[in-house]
């Protein structure tokens, strides 16, 4: 696969790291002030789940970007070239080599981000409304209102989900490690 290591690819990769350098709460505040009013064609997103999803995507772009790009383009171009030497057309190379090899990376990239987002609080605290609560913001609210037992129960739930996700990745990528 060509296009790796070009100036554009480097620029995209580097700018995608910017959100990661900004503190979560500040990044949340930024999105809050950006999306409370409608700006041109973009409607006011405050109060929608879309905004919560959006901010999580932006914040984690460096990881997903890295995992995705690396697994897709850097599976070792030689692995693809070896199939080219074997006489395989592009369609077969994609189906038999690139896809099976990068799917692992994609899955582990996804789970990595999933786990991070599951534990995210400061980033989305300012953006959630009662309709768009997440488990972490619920623990925060319960804690604030003095229901520390509810809060602890949800924390345990978060840990259980995260551990399950981690175990699932290990199973999925077992034996196929690159």
């Amino acid at each position: 696969m060509k296009g790796r290591g070009t100036k554009l690819a480097k620029l995209v990769e580097q700018t995608s790291f910017l959100p990661y350098l900004i503190p979560g709460i500040a990044f949340g505040a930024l999105y809050l002030s950006l999306f409370t009013h409608r700006i041109g064609p973009i409607p006011a997103l405050y109060g929608t789940f879309l905004l919560v999803a959006l901010v999580c995507i932006a914040k984690n772009l460096p990881f997903t970007g890295r995992a995705g790009i690396t697994s897709m383009l850097q599976i070792g171009s030689e692995l693809e070239e070896a199939s080219e030497i074997a006489g395989a057309k592009w369609s077969r190379r994609f189906m038999k080599i690139i896809l099976p090899l990068s799917i692992n990376g994609a899955i582990s990239g996804f789970i990595l981000v999933f786990i991070t987002v599951m534990r995210e609080l400061s980033l989305i605290l300012l953006l959630v409304t009662p309709e768009t609560r997440t488990l972490t913001t619920m623990t925060f609210r319960y804690q604030e209102q003095g229901y520390s037992q509810f809060s602890s129960a949800i924390s345990v739930l978060i840990i259980a989900i995260v551990v399950a996700a981690e175990l699932a990745t290990r199973r999925l990528t077992k034996n196929k490690a690159i």
């Binding site: 070239e81 070896a82 199939s83 074997a86 006489g87 395989a88 692992n104 034996n175 690159i178």
Partner: protein
């Protein structure tokens, strides 16, 4: 009709401002085992990849079995998958999500063989490389040596017209490397497949190749049989790169011995007589390097040599015994010379000895061009 299998003409590859391959031309025939030899970064891999069709040259032509597969002028570029070449990558590039069986079968499936034929061929390949028990393993569950055998088997079963190998032994330990050298030579003997093999190891090149192309900074310095490369290097670079220990180099200017009709080299504080005849193509006063192979210098056994020319007193500085042979480093004037001796004599560091450099063993290099003065002018 000639049986040229691979021919490259004026092949050049430029990456940005690096000229990786610079105007390289050669051709090889049926059953040839060509080794592209040179230091790291000299363009060996790039040449191999251009022959394979994985890298598009900047200019030049490539023929495979007299079929033009690349031409900058005619705008021809036949992709790798249509070239019928096999390639063993330096990294082996085995597919980690496939078993050994599937790795080897892949190329056969692409060729639409039926499953019985595939099974038979893979089995044959496995047994040829002594991998019968490994069929269901994954590459990452195997040692480097085994992975390398799989990579070879994968190439063999597809029966390509040309075998290409990129430093296949560089990741193996010394002992295994020796075994695999013999094994690859044996594969070549049994299949007769025309092979282009890349290495930076000059011993590997001398032991395995029947033709060697020595490369330096993307240029081909010499293309010849291993013996000729060793005995008659075309340039000082080749003389220096080939042979272990390294060839000895003594600087001086050319001087004519009118009476004897031969040339000698006058250095700082020595005069070395050569076997080169006085000739119109050499000039007195020309700056030269006298190059002498370590095994050509004789030590202490000076009696019986005509006159007293080229006998110098020297002092042994280091003794490096290596089983049947011994490397001596001796101090001669302000040079340290490498000597390779096979006699069973115990020399000691500090010992004073006489060394003899036979005139006919002296190679002369023109200092300003770096090229050897042709041996055709040699009396021998």
């Amino acid at each position: 009709m000639s049986n040229t299998v691979v021919e490259v003409k004026n092949l050049t590859k430029v990456f940005g401002d690096v000229t990786a391959v610079n105007d390289v031309s050669f051709s090889i025939e049926e059953k040839d085992f060509l080794i592209l030899l040179g230091p790291s970064g000299c363009g060996k891999t790039t040449i191999l990849r251009m022959i394979a069709g994985l890298e598009e040259p900047t200019s030049g032509e490539i023929f495979l079995r007299e079929k033009l597969v690349y031409s900058s002028e005619k705008k021809i570029f036949v992709p790798a998958r249509e070239r019928s070449v096999g390639l063993v990558f330096q990294s082996y590039a085995l597919w980690p999500h496939m078993t050994v069986f599937e790795n080897i079968a892949f190329g056969l499936r692409v060729q639409h063989l039926n499953s019985a034929a595939i099974k038979a061929k893979v089995k044959e390949g496995l047994s040829f490389m002594q991998l019968e028990e490994m069929a269901n393993r994954y590459p990452q569950e195997m040692s480097g040596g085994q992975q390398q055998r799989v990579a070879l088997a994968r190439m063999l079963v597809s029966e390509p017209e040309v075998f290409l190998m990129d430093e296949p032994l560089s990741n193996l330990d010394a002992k295994l490397r020796l075994e695999m050298r013999a094994e690859i030579k044996n594969i070549h003997f049994q299949t007769g497949a025309t092979t282009v093999y890349v290495t930076h190891d000059q011993v590997e090149a001398l032991t395995m190749a029947n033709k060697i192309a020595v490369l330096n900074h993307g240029r081909m310095e010499q293309f010849d049989k291993p013996k000729a490369i060793y005995k008659h290097p075309a340039t000082l670079f080749v003389a220096d790169f080939i042979g272990s220990p390294t060839i000895n180099k003594l600087k001086g200017v050319l001087q004519f011995e009118e009476g004897a009709g031969i040339c000698s080299v006058r250095g700082d504080s020595f005069k070395l007589v050569t076997g080169y005849k006085i000739n119109t193509r050499v000039q007195e006063g020309q700056e030269v390097v006298a190059a002498v192979r370590p095994e050509s210098v004789l030590v202490d056994s000076v009696k019986g040599h005509e006159g007293s020319i080229n006998i110098f007193s020297a002092e042994i500085s280091t003794v490096l015994p290596a089983g049947p042979e011994t490397i001596l480093q001796v101090k001669f004037k302000n040079y340290i010379l490498n000597l390779l001796i096979t006699q069973d004599v115990d020399y000691l560091a500090g010992e004073k000895v006489d060394i003899y450099i036979p005139p006919k063993e002296v190679l002369l290099v023109n200092s300003s061009t770096g090229r050897l003065i042709p041996p055709s002018m040699n009396t021998q």
